[in-house]
């Protein structure tokens, strides 16, 4: 069955329908990872967005037990080609079936490179995937322009708190749309991880007396998370060590008076170099963010930049002065992507006084 990808600027790509046949409108973003399509599909940070994979051959190793959350989150999925036959010793099914079961509409046979170039040149924009051959651009374009990602954190966070048992440090993980490997990385280091829903109050977390607080990654515009920011302000006031990733990093910055802005087309992939400003060492990182903390908005008395993106010099991390707080824009938990910055979890362990 034919499917169409219609962009806000009126560009139409014709392809083949994959996954769910329902129509969807979303923000279209591209990811350049060559492996890890399943981790991308199950990363809650993609809620409210449809993902274009720039690597043309997707689904080669099928569906493996590598989901980063319980379900797939993107509104839509755009690829060049889905593999007819997946092959891997851990393969449990095909990506075609997975998309259908997860009710994700998608489109294949798209010139994903041409699409990526449009997004690169014009910036991230909204789009629709439809199987309706009689689509009417005049009707659709205003709808596309009207689309807003909205409050997606509430959609992706867990509904109730839960605990990953461990005999070491007690970590409170605020689930803003956390990927599984954040909790696993801590759990592997012996931590008992209590995962809290995004709208948990600071008081509840503080009263549990954790050794450290972890703010996770998550979807959407950080500035929309006003009530969460208010709670994070209270966390900042305590002396509990805090480590934050991606959205968590942005929210901590916002909570301490900095601002964020939307990048033209974001950073999504597994090849971004980030430089540790203390050592000058460069790490290849996994990234997935559309917004970034404005370096110049950071009050130097509150925090100093700790990491910078080597490509475009945007902020990649902050170290808070006089506080045991450290936040990064990239993803040390990887999955997908390079594991080079996994050592940051060790650093968090040290912030909490080392492993028990």
């Amino acid at each position: 069955m034919k499917a169409f990808l219609i962009l806000e600027d009126g560009t139409v790509f014709t392809g083949k329908s994959i996954g769910s046949k329902r129509e969807m409108i979303s923000e279209i973003v591209f990811n350049t990872s060559m492996t890890g399509y399943l981790e991308v599909l199950t990363d809650p940070s993609y809620a409210g967005q449809a993902v274009v994979m720039t690597y043309p051959l997707i689904g080669n190793y099928g569906i493996t037990p590598d989901m980063e959350s319980k379900k797939a989150w993107p509104d839509g999925y755009i690829v060049r080609e889905l593999s007819r036959l997946p092959s891997n010793f851990r393969c449990e099914g095909t990506i075609q079936d997975f998309l259908e079961k997860q009710d994700i509409p998608g489109i294949a046979d798209v010139d994903t490179r041409a699409l990526t170039k449009i997004l690169r040149e014009k910036g991230t924009m909204n789009g629709m995937i439809t199987t309706d051959e009689n689509y009417n651009l005049e009707e659709i374009l205003p709808k596309l322009k009207a689309y807003r990602v909205g409050d997606v954190v509430s959609k992706v966070t867990c509904s109730e708190k839960y605990v990953l048992e461990g005999s070491g440090k007690k970590v409170a993980l605020l689930d803003l749309g956390a990927k599984n490997n954040i909790a696993s990385s801590l759990n592997k280091r012996g931590c008992e991880v209590t995962v809290y829903p995004a709208h948990t109050t600071a008081d509840e977390i503080i009263s549990a007396n954790p050794d450290g607080i972890m703010l996770s990654n998550g979807p959407g515009d950080p500035a929309d998370c006003t009530s969460i920011i208010e709670e994070i302000k209270k966390l900042y006031q305590t002396d509990i060590p805090v480590f934050a990733i991606c959205l968590g990093h942005q929210l901590m910055a916002l909570a301490t008076g900095a601002t964020t802005h939307k990048l033209k087309y974001g950073h999504r992939g597994g090849n971004h170099p980030v430089k540790d400003l203390k050592t000058g060492k460069v790490y290849i990182s996994s990234q997935n963010h559309g917004y970034v903390v404005d370096d110049e908005s950071v009050n130097q008395e509150i925090a100093v930049p700790a990491f910078v993106n080597v490509n475009d010099e945007t902020n990649e991390g902050l170290e808070y002065r006089g506080k045991n707080i450290f936040t990064v824009q990239f993803h040390p938990e990887a999955c997908p992507g390079p594991q080079d910055s996994g050592y940051l979890f060790d650093r968090f362990m040290e912030m909490m006084g080392g492993a028990k």
Partner: protein, 1067 residues
């Protein structure tokens, strides 16, 4: 960290002659690195014995020494030039080993020279088996468990420890004979007992068997600050067991999940960090296909064939970045030259799929075993890029130029299912074609995988291609079907054959339906950033992104495709220089080529690079888009010449000598007319199609005769026949491939063989020099030792050669280059035996030793320049003050079963140069450059034909005089002893021990002189002697002339007194 300013003068060591396993990739890496160093204001001293390379140009380095790569030479050179640093990691294993020897001997330290890039400690850790194993164990990286055992009991207990199956490799046996894989203790005992007996040192290596695992490679970079990145990973379609150089390889990996990908990536970074590598490095893994278990197979702490492939596959210039790192820069300080925006410290992301296929030399070595093993056999490779795997594979197949264009090109329909199943287990260059046949017969993927261990994913891709064959055969050709066939890169001719239509009809149907090739850019970043460097590949069914260019005149330069015997790196040298020359003249240059190992496919050589197959259809798609003002075909070897006619049909003017005149030189009858008109004698002969006709001509001329197909390069299929029986056999071999053109039969003249390259502007000619071959006619010019200037020609003969060259060039209306081979009999009888109105193998060599930039000159002439106006005096140029000898280099030890005797068919893979003031020294340098370092044990064997006895006596006497002990077979021994040259008779190999073979296997023989009979020599004896000698590292000469040259060099030289010549000063 900024540049280390204490580095001012760097010695770069190249890799020497092209041999199997060490080919053009090092010229590419070396050239890129030298340019990168010069860009930083560093003075570059270059040492490489290979004159065919671009890196040995005076434009690339400041001082250029084309001298043998020996410790003595490097020491002398360092004393002379006093560089402050040596960069050893660009010249392959040869360069690395040399640098290590110097370091270990303390020479570098004593002379205040340091190794930059990777340190000697690192090199040792990576190269020494035991140190490497210890290092890997230290950081917890697994290597395949192995142990050297000297008795069965130890073998059994070790095998029990590591588990079956195990591989057994006896030490020091011929080609690994006596080894094998044991599945259980019973088999182990059997194989091990035998192996211990066969091994000269009584040792067998017992190793965990990882054959059948996935073979994965990572190319990694690291700087002195410890920053690491991976440039690319690659997956071998052929599982562990086939050398990666002989495997079909895909980039990036296709069947690895992110977990496996990152696990191995992290491992590679851990290894490069622990080894403290600064620069590029290649790490090879075996990955268990059914678990996360892996083993590190090997680490190469230098640029390599794989790194060249990774550079071309991703656009990331590894050698350039490695050179900058050696100067002290860190990855985040080095700009990515492709995007101009990002830095070297980012990992390339591909939005396409790359396939590499090796070019194997079995068409040259018909008797050789086609089996692929851990010993590399490929001479070169092709790479292709597409947005789907099937398409990339199809493009790579037709880039090979081996008469293959689809999965139907080898026919296995005659095999029964049982035979096919059996043959699926055979690992050779035709395996994917047999798998395709198995798929056609509906054999299951599981069955095929069980036998081949090739991943199901790849088998399914082959199945998709097979299904398309079926669809085209059985269904109506709708635009949709055609579109799908083109998406997976079925060429028009194959579609035509399957659908019963003509190629033209398919072409027209495509264009009527808008099914045309579009071009996408290789930009290192999957379109995330705008790229500045136009490097393109074709796809179907997508948007074209090539920017239209106007303004300057456009020239299309056709490259020479994969490196093969007969068409080597020399033609890349010519293509690159021609491109540079056109650029200087203000042209926009476009290169089309498919060889990832070459300089011509580097991203900044031409204004635009199309990484595409060199077939008429693929070239036409580019022409349709670019509309070039002209095309040059005379620099790209036979590959480019073959495209002449098609280009003319496309309406592209051929710049330089016209197609019609190219034809005249190749078409026997037309050429005979020209020779007659020019009053130039040639050996008499005739053209034939069948063996009967050939025998008739041969008997009329009288044996021996030379038999060869027309329109070939490197003497492919050329043979000397001495009787009717030979004719039957040779014509049979030639006609195995359908011939479009007649076969030539010529009287075989035994005389001096002379070769000339000349530039002609339509009126005047310029001959840089006359080259004389040491071996008499009958041995292919590419396999002969070539001497410039000629040493034995009379002035009259030289004058005749110059005059004939002038007449021929004029009469063929040559504009640009012409190569002519002559035979001189007696004092002044000059015959023409071959004319090639194009660039030749000797052009780089003769350019360098005469100082005349032949290719740029020819290029200027092609666009209308005149030799006189360009500042040259026409005619034969004054002889240079040096004698320069080009020595062929062979890779026989790599190809099991190949007959090494020299003849009209070319067999050498590369060449080196010996240049000196005297003939003796030049010859000596050439021999040691080719790796013939004598004397060692001063024992030699002679076995020659009766007619060579006189020569043998003279040569034997001279070898005896410098202290050689001569062993000889009965006839030869008798002749020698009768003439007073002491020779020890030895028994022939079929006789009882001790015989000739035992002598060779005793490892104390320096040299075997074995002259095989002419014609189809079926003597197993000679063949076995030569193979055994080669495989045990003994030098074998099969021509009396070569033997004579060798003894001359040994008599005349003293290694301590070599003069080193900076070739950039040669005028």
């Amino acid at each position: 960290m900024p540049k280390d300013n204490s580095i001012k003068k760097v010695l770069v060591i190249g890799s020497g002659p092209i041999i199997i396993g060490q080919a053009a990739e090092f010229d590419y890496a070396g050239t890129q690195a030298c340019r990168s160093l010069k860009e930083e204001g560093i003075e570059v001293v270059l040492l490489n014995s290979n004159p065919a390379t671009i890196m040995t140009d005076k434009d690339i380095a400041d001082k250029v020494y084309i001298e043998p790569l020996t410790v003595e030479v490097v020491e002398q050179l360092i004393r002379k030039e006093q560089p402050d640093s040596v960069l050893p990691t660009l010249g392959g294993q040869a360069g690395l080993n040399l640098a290590m020897e110097l370091e270990e001997a303390g020479f570098l330290k004593n002379n205040d020279v340091r190794l930059i890039g990777t340190t000697s400690e690192t090199i040792r850790k990576a190269e020494d088996r035991l140190e490497f194993k210890a290092t890997m164990e230290k950081i917890g990286e697994p290597v395949a468990a192995s142990l050297v055992v000297e008795n069965v009991a130890d073998g059994l207990s070790f095998a029990n420890e590591i588990g079956y199956p195990v591989v057994l490799r006896p030490a020091y046996t011929l080609g690994g004979s006596g080894g094998g894989i044991a599945q259980n203790s019973e088999q182990l005992v059997e194989i091990l007992e035998n192996g211990l007996r066969l091994s000269r040192v009584g040792q067998v290596l017992v190793e965990r068997c990882i054959a059948g695992w996935k073979e994965i490679e990572y190319e990694v970079m690291r700087d002195s600050n410890g920053n690491c990145i991976t440039v690319c990973n690659m997956e071998n379609i052929d599982p562990v067991g086939v050398h990666t150089g002989d495997s079909i390889v895909v980039a990036p990996s296709q069947t690895l999940g992110d977990k496996e990908y990152q696990m191995l990536r992290t491992s590679a970074l851990n290894i490069i960090s622990e080894l403290n590598i600064t620069g590029g490095c290649n790490v090879q893994y075996a990955l268990n296909p059914v678990s996360f278990e892996y083993c590190v197979i090997e680490v190469n702490p230098r640029v390599s064939r794989s790194s060249a492939l990774a550079s071309k596959a991703t656009g990331y210039p590894i050698a350039k970045v490695a050179a900058k790192i050696a100067l002290g820069y860190t990855l985040d300080e080095i700009k990515n030259a492709i995007t101009g925006k990002t830095y070297a410290s980012f990992e390339p992301m591909l939005d396409y799929c790359v396939v590499k296929i090796p070019r194997l030399p079995f068409d040259k070595f018909i008797s050789a075993k086609r089996t692929l093993t851990t010993q590399m056999k490929a001479t070169g490779e092709v790479m292709s890029i597409c947005d789907n795997f099937e398409g990339a594979l199809m493009k790579a197949i037709r880039s090979l130029e081996q008469h293959v264009d689809s999965l139907m090109s080898y026919d296995f329909t005659e095999l029964s299912d049982e035979e096919l199943t059996e043959k699926l287990a055979l690992v050779d260059d035709m395996r994917i074609w047999r798998i395709a046949e198995a798929i056609r017969r509906n054999m299951t993927y599981d069955h095929i995988h069980e036998i081949t261990k090739i991943d199901h994913w790849f088998i399914d891709k082959l199945a998709i291609l097979v299904e398309m064959e079926q669809a085209l055969k059985t269904e109506e050709l709708t635009p949709e079907l055609l579109k799908e066939a083109k998406r997976i890169e079925f060429p028009d001719n194959v579609i035509a054959a399957l659908t019963g239509k003509s190629e033209e009809e398919i072409h027209d149907m495509r264009h009527a339906n808008g099914i045309v090739a579009a071009y996408k850019m290789v930009d290192t970043c999957a379109a995330e950033f705008a790229a500045a460097t136009p490097y393109y590949y074709s796809v179907y069914g997508r948007e074209n992104e090539v920017e239209e260019t106007h303004g300057r005149k456009k020239v299309l330069v056709l490259g020479s495709g994969p490196i093969r015997i007969g068409q080597g790196i020399e033609f890349d040298f010519c293509s690159v220089h021609c491109t540079w020359a056109f650029s200087k003249e203000g042209y926009e240059t476009i290169i089309v080529n498919n060889n990832p190992e070459t300089v011509s496919t580097d991203f900044d050589i031409a204004d635009k690079l199309y990484f595409e197959p060199l077939t008429p259809e693929d070239v036409k798609s580019i022409v349709d888009l670019e509309r070039p003002d002209g095309a040059v075909v005379q620099f790209g070897g036979q590959t480019a010449i073959k495209l002449t006619e098609s280009l003319m049909k496309m309406g592209v003017p051929i710049l330089g000598t016209s197609a019609e005149n190219v034809d005249k030189a190749e078409d026997r009858e037309l050429f005979d007319e020209i020779l007659e008109e020019c009053q130039i004698p040639r050996p008499t002969g005739g053209t034939v199609f069948t063996a009967e006709e050939a025998k008739e001509v041969a008997n009329r001329l009288g044996y021996p005769v030379l038999v060869r197909p027309s329109y070939v390069l490197g003497g492919q299929g050329m043979q000397i026949a001495i009787n009717d029986h030979d004719i039957d056999e040779f014509i049979g071999i030639i006609n195995r491939i359908a011939q479009d053109h007649p076969i030539l039969v010529d009287k075989y003249l035994q005389g001096k063989e002379i070769e000339v390259d000349a530039v002609c502007d339509g009126e005047d000619i310029l001959i840089p020099g006359i080259m004389e071959h040491i071996e008499r006619a009958g041995i292919h010019s590419g396999d002969s030792i070539s001497v410039y200037p000629s040493q034995s020609l009379s002035q009259a003969a030289k004058d005749k050669i110059a005059e004939y060259t002038r007449r021929l060039a004029k009469s063929l209306h040559v504009i640009g280059l012409i190569n002519i081979q002559f035979i001189v009999c007696g004092d002044e009888d000059v015959y023409v035996i071959e004319v090639n109105p194009r660039s030749s193998r000797t052009v780089p060599y003769i350019s360098k030793v005469t100082g005349i930039p032949i290719v740029p000159l020819a290029t200027k002439v092609i666009i209308g320049g005149k030799i006189r106006e360009l500042g040259y005096t026409p005619g034969l140029q004054k002889e240079a003050e040096y004698i320069a000898i080009k020595m062929p280099v062979f890779s026989f030890e790599k190809i099991r079963g190949a007959d090494i005797s020299l003849g009209p068919e070319m067999k050498s893979t590369g060449e080196c140069l010996g240049i000196a003031k005297t003939f003796g020294e030049a010859l000596y340098k050439a021999f040691i450059g080719a790796g013939i370092k004598l004397p060692k044990f001063k024992n030699m064997i002679m076995t020659v034909r009766d007619e060579d006895h006189q020569d043998a006596v003279e040569i034997g006497r001279r070898f005896a005089a410098i202290g050689y002990r001569i062993f000889a077979t009965s006839g030869t021994a008798r002749a020698l002893n009768e003439a007073g040259v002491k020779a020890i008779p030895v028994r022939k190999i079929e006789q009882e021990s001790p015989n000739l073979l035992d002598l060779i296997l005793g490892h104390e023989i320096d040299l075997v002189i074995d002259i095989p009979a002419q014609g189809a020599d079926h003597s197993r004896d000679g063949f076995i002697i030569r193979r055994n000698a080669i495989e045990t590292g003994v030098n074998v000469l099969t021509s009396m002339d070569t033997a004579q040259a060798l003894i001359t060099s040994l008599e005349n030289t003293d290694i301590q007194k070599l003069t080193l010549i900076d070739i950039s000063t040669v005028q």
